[in-house]
Amino acid sequence: MKKSVYKSAMSRVKTSENFKEETYRKLMSETEKTKQTNINKPNQKESIKMENVMKRKITGWTVGIAACAVLSISIFTMSQNGSSPSPQASAIASKPPILGKVAVNIDGVISEVSADGKSFKVGDLWVTVTDQTALGSKEPTASAPSEELLQKEFKVGNIVSGYTSQDVATGKVTADVIYNNMAPQKDVAAKPPIKGKAAVNIEGVITEVSADGAAFKVGDLWVTVTPETELGIGGPTAAEPSEELLQKEFKVGNIVSGFTTEDVSTGKVTADVIYNNMVPQK
């Protein structure tokens, strides 16, 4: 059997002389790298574990101390309540929980004004306006206060708004700012009611006709038809009124329609327009 030429040729193919050494060196360096990584990892884990343990310790101690503090305060309070319960309760009841605010709104209608005109009463509170009191809003975007909204004189019935930083519990404060001092709108009820309309429809059945035939009664209203009264439906598209729909003579029982601009409360008006005057269908 012949020796394989291919095997002989492949065996003679030259490779690096120091391949084994180089490869082994490379493998060793990789091993070292892996070792280093493995050594570092547990250390990091340990340090993280230690940090976590410390955190847990601190949290535990904090919670414990807080719980002890709450417990001791509650025990102290309970023992205090037990020794003298009634005076404490009365004291709490007599004192309002909050005695004053930083700023309290003044808002309402003036019910009383002092003789000098510098103080007014809103509800149960007397408010004094001094030179220090700012009038109107000082906001950069606020418009200048009008005479109507911020009158110079405080009058009974005026609507005021503003605020004070003083304790309102005393019943007398000095206003820091007065935004508005305006007279109330006049009573709407005092105004006379509208007695008539611009136009009132006349519509119904004639119950009575005057002797001259120029007036008729529809319901409680006497309607007079004058030469000024327009007969029929006007307008460019309106059809010519028929004899049937607009009879010349007003008769009892006829159905009429139209309108007047006069005041119907007087009970007697002159018709502006009569659209229809027709005999009812049998």
Binding site: K2, S4, Y6, S8, A9, F19, T23, L27
Partner: protein, 165 residues
């Protein structure tokens, strides 16, 4: 499992025993000694990192060959390998007949080249090659037959004479 000393020793032994075989297999694949050596180094690195356990030395060699083939295939797929245009390996130092045969084998398609290499260089049987290449023995037999036929056409020889590669 190995401890680190044993592992180093086993790697060193594998390096001594199989490095040349692995370089030649990779060379049969890549047709370049430098690339073949690089692939072989990667194979031993994988051996070190994965720490496989082998039933026998033959098992170990088969694993190393399989890994070399896989890594060579991966290198062939890489963009930089495809894009480059390397100078052909200088085989002028080989005797003429050997150089011709080697050039002819390297010119084969890789699916014929590797079974021929494993059969004629490593001396593996068809069954063993099939196991290494994870193929059917019949398929390996076909590859070997076709490879031989192509080589016979290239290298020549009498019709009744069996080709000697």
């Amino acid at each position: 499992m190995y401890n680190s000393l044993e592992l180093n020793e086993s790697v060193r032994q594998a390096l001594d025993l199989h490095s040349q075989s692995l370089i030649k297999i990779a060379f049969a694949y890549l047709k370049n000694i430098a690339d073949a050596e690089e692939v072989t180094q990667e194979v031993f690195l994988a051996y070190l990192q994965k720490r496989p356990v082998f039933a026998s030395s033959e098992h170990e060699k088969a694993w190393l060959i399989r890994t070399t083939i896989n890594k060579s295939k991966n290198m062939l797929k890489t963009g930089w390998f495809k894009s480059r245009n390397p100078v052909p390996e200088d085989l002028s130092y080989l005797p003429k007949e050997e150089s011709e045969v080697l050039q002819a084998v390297l010119a084969l398609d890789k699916k014929y080249r590797i079974p021929i290499h494993l059969h004629y260089y490593e001396g593996y049987s068809i069954q063993e090659i099939a196991a290494i290449m994870q193929s059917k023995p019949a398929t390996v037999g076909t590859w070997l037959a076709r490879g031989r036929f192509i080589l016979k056409e290239k290298i020549g020889g009498l019709e009744d004479e069996e080709i000697c590669i």
